[in-house]
Amino acid sequence: MYRIRFHGRGGQGMKTASRILGSAFFEAGYEVQDAPRYGAERRGAPIFAYVRAAREPINERGIIQHPDLVIVADDTLVPVPASGVLAGVSACTVLLINSTEAADVWQHRLNISGPIITLPVAAEVEDRADLPYIGATCAGAAAQLIGVIPQQALIHAIETELGGLGSAVVERNLENALAAYELVAPHHGLASEGAAPHAQDYERPDWADLPLETARISAPTIYAAANSIEVRTGLWRTLRPVIDYSRCNRCWWVCSTFCPDGAIAVSADGQPQIDYDHCKGCMVCVAQCPPHAIAAIPEHQAQAEESQLAGTTGDPP
């Protein structure tokens, strides 16, 4: 059975990528299971989707624990533990990263022994959640790496999955998917089918007996705001609101009141401060600020400027 996982941000089309690959497998005569996985996250949050394909009916279900192929549409997710990009990756797993950095840089950085291939295809865009055609591109590259999907099946899958969006959209996606298919042709068939888990020789689950604990500890009560400090929802952000204090008129309440996440605090003298660890980048404050003192800056650009600043001054941003 082939087990494939796509990682990206909400909005980048990972569900579409899994459906294109699923349909292409189905077209090639395989039994298929494809599914996206996300909860209450919004655009920009790390999400993943997966595909299983086999010649026999598939009884396995749920999250893929041991992937044969992992595709990462957005390389900024690789170092984010919450995105789970590297979960279950072994020496047999092929890793395909959409990145302008070279494969050996990633090999060294991640210290993993399995093959890594980069796909330097996406032109940089302002809002990364809009990364154009990346879903179809990833599916195209995946089809080549798997090696059992004929080009015609890939084409037909894209036409099936995106047909409802009109012929212009289908054409642009086809163009990108086929370019990626060609680009990774030297690695044709690199990803291979993983084996079924063994009932004879398996890692025994280390089950725990839950102790009885008092309700003070074991009740999931939430009586206060700011109860999820360690959940860094700032990682979801693809655009960053930045306050121009020379234009801020210290109204003290508009941006902080409209912020749906309580991520803007106002100091005693009426100066707003954005908590970037938790600001999800919804840009409601940008729209609400009466003197237009808040600008939307692409997050990757803001981060690049920060690290440059850190490099020149030696101070953390």
Partner: protein
């Protein structure tokens, strides 16, 4: 007939479409919403001739469903989790009215704490209300069972609403190959709704009871409902046989996989049962005498078939994806009641709780359940009930609790 990739939600919508549901009261909730969105789109584009109405709550939605079904039209609705519970008062009421319709429930764990992912506590909460329950393990079953459910609900010998249950995420958002049967065949199979005695009309009053009853007449009506639900078992077998002849797919009230010659048996409901099936394949390859028994009907509870399939087994592991607080797994409890006193009943009936809130059950855990069961059979006594929960998972909770503790301190609540 075509074989295509469909989600469980897509399959449920196809079931309603092929059954020609006339009226669809609706209210959105994750992970069900895709069903009513799909139906709304078909109605909007003229591909389906039906009336979809959005209500202000699930309570009103089920009231509207029951009210419409009482006039003799074919009704479909769908909900999930908190929505099913919000409708609970009316689930009992419309079942008491003996109005036949089909409600798809996309299983999702209940609050608090809140989750979006699958477990069966929602549908178990509706266990005693008078709705019959069909539990699906694949997307194909969702489509097929929606058709079967209409036949069962509308049969004069039954006349009860039916819940078709599928697991959130594991089926609702998962695409797999599904055969969409030929519409002419499905139309012939489901047939037109023959309302017979169901003909509630405005300005045409009719009564079969008084509004408030004493215990004895109340008991009569409630027990008749119970008898009708029990009667559904044999009616189901007739419908299932007809379905098998027409479409070539078979859904026995209890499915058995390699169970006949097995010494040990897993018992499970819903989509996780396919994972148990995969584990049985692996265990058999490693020389184990093990199988799977998977109830398809939960209400009526198919006792005779379960007694027969489990007779002579040495050990049974019931894996419940639900938890009755202060008791344990519901399926384990019901199975114990069904097997008690039978001379061939398995001596070891072990209880495992797993998959709460969508928590995965790994292949290795199925292998370990088999090992624990085998050891229990050797020792001659059932193990204590076991929650499938690892030390690493407990460690994760400890980390979160430590963070919460620090936060409490920062918030000035140091107790």
């Amino acid at each position: 007939m075509s074989r295509t990739l469909l989600t469980g939600n897509g399959a449920a919508a196809w079931g309603a479409r092929l059954a020609h549901a006339d009226y669809i009261p609706a209210f959105p909730i994750t992970p069900q919403t895709e069903i009513i969105e799909t139906l709304a789109q078909w109605i909007d584009t003229g591909q389906m001739d039906s009336r979809l109405v959005t209500l202000e709550s699930e309570h009103s939605m089920i009231t509207a469903a029951g009210g419409a079904a009482a006039t003799g039209v074919r009704v479909f609705s769908a909900t999930s989790s908190q929505g099913l519970l919000y409708a609970m008062e009316m689930l009992y009421t419309v079942a008491g009215w003996r109005t036949p319709f089909v409600l798809v429930n996309v299983s999702r764990g209940l609050s608090a704490p809140i989750t979006l992912e699958a477990d069966h506590n929602d549908v178990m909460a509706a266990r005693d209300c008078g709705f019959l329950q069909l539990h699906c393990a694949t997307c194909q079953e969702v489509l097929d069972n929606t058709l079967i459910a209409y036949r069962l609900a509308e049969d004069e010998r039954v006349r009860l609403p039916v819940i078709v249950n599928l697991d959130g995420f594991y089926l609702s958002f998962t695409r797999e190959p599904v055969i969409i049967p030929d519409p002419q065949e499905t139309t012939a199979f489901v047939g037109p709704f023959n309302p017979a005695s169901i003909h509630f009309r405005a300005s045409a009053p009719e009564s079969q009871a008084v509004a408030v009853l004493g215990g004895a007449p109340y008991s009569y009506f409630r027990y008749e409902l119970h008898l009708a639900a029990q009667n559904a078992l044999s009616v189901y077998d007739e419908i299932r046989a007809e379905f098998r002849e027409t479409f070539g797919r078979d859904y026995p009230a209890v499915d058995a996989y390699h169970a006949e010659d097995a010494e040990l048996v897993f018992v499970m409901l819903g989509s996780f049962a396919t994972k148990a099936r995969a584990a049985v394949d692996q265990l058999r390859e490693a020389g184990w005498s093990i199988g799977l028994v998977q109830p398809h009907l939960l209400r009526p509870f198919p006792e005779p078939l379960l007694q027969q399939l489990l007779a002579g087994k040495r050990g049974v592991a019931v894996i419940d994806q639900n938890l009755s607080m202060g008791k344990g797994g519901v399926l384990h409890t019901e199975l114990a009641a069904a097997l008690y006193g039978h001379p061939d009943a398995p001596p070891v009936l072990a209880s495992f709780i797993g998959g709460l809130g969508g928590r995965d059950i790994t292949a290795e855990e199925f292998f370990e359940i088999a090992r624990v069961l085998r050891d229990a059979v050797s020792a001659g006594r059932a193990p204590l009930p076991r929650l499938l929960y690892t030390r690493d998972e407990l460690l994760e909770i400890r980390k979160l609790q430590a963070v919460a503790h620090v936060e409490r301190k920062e918030l000035g609540k140091t107790t």
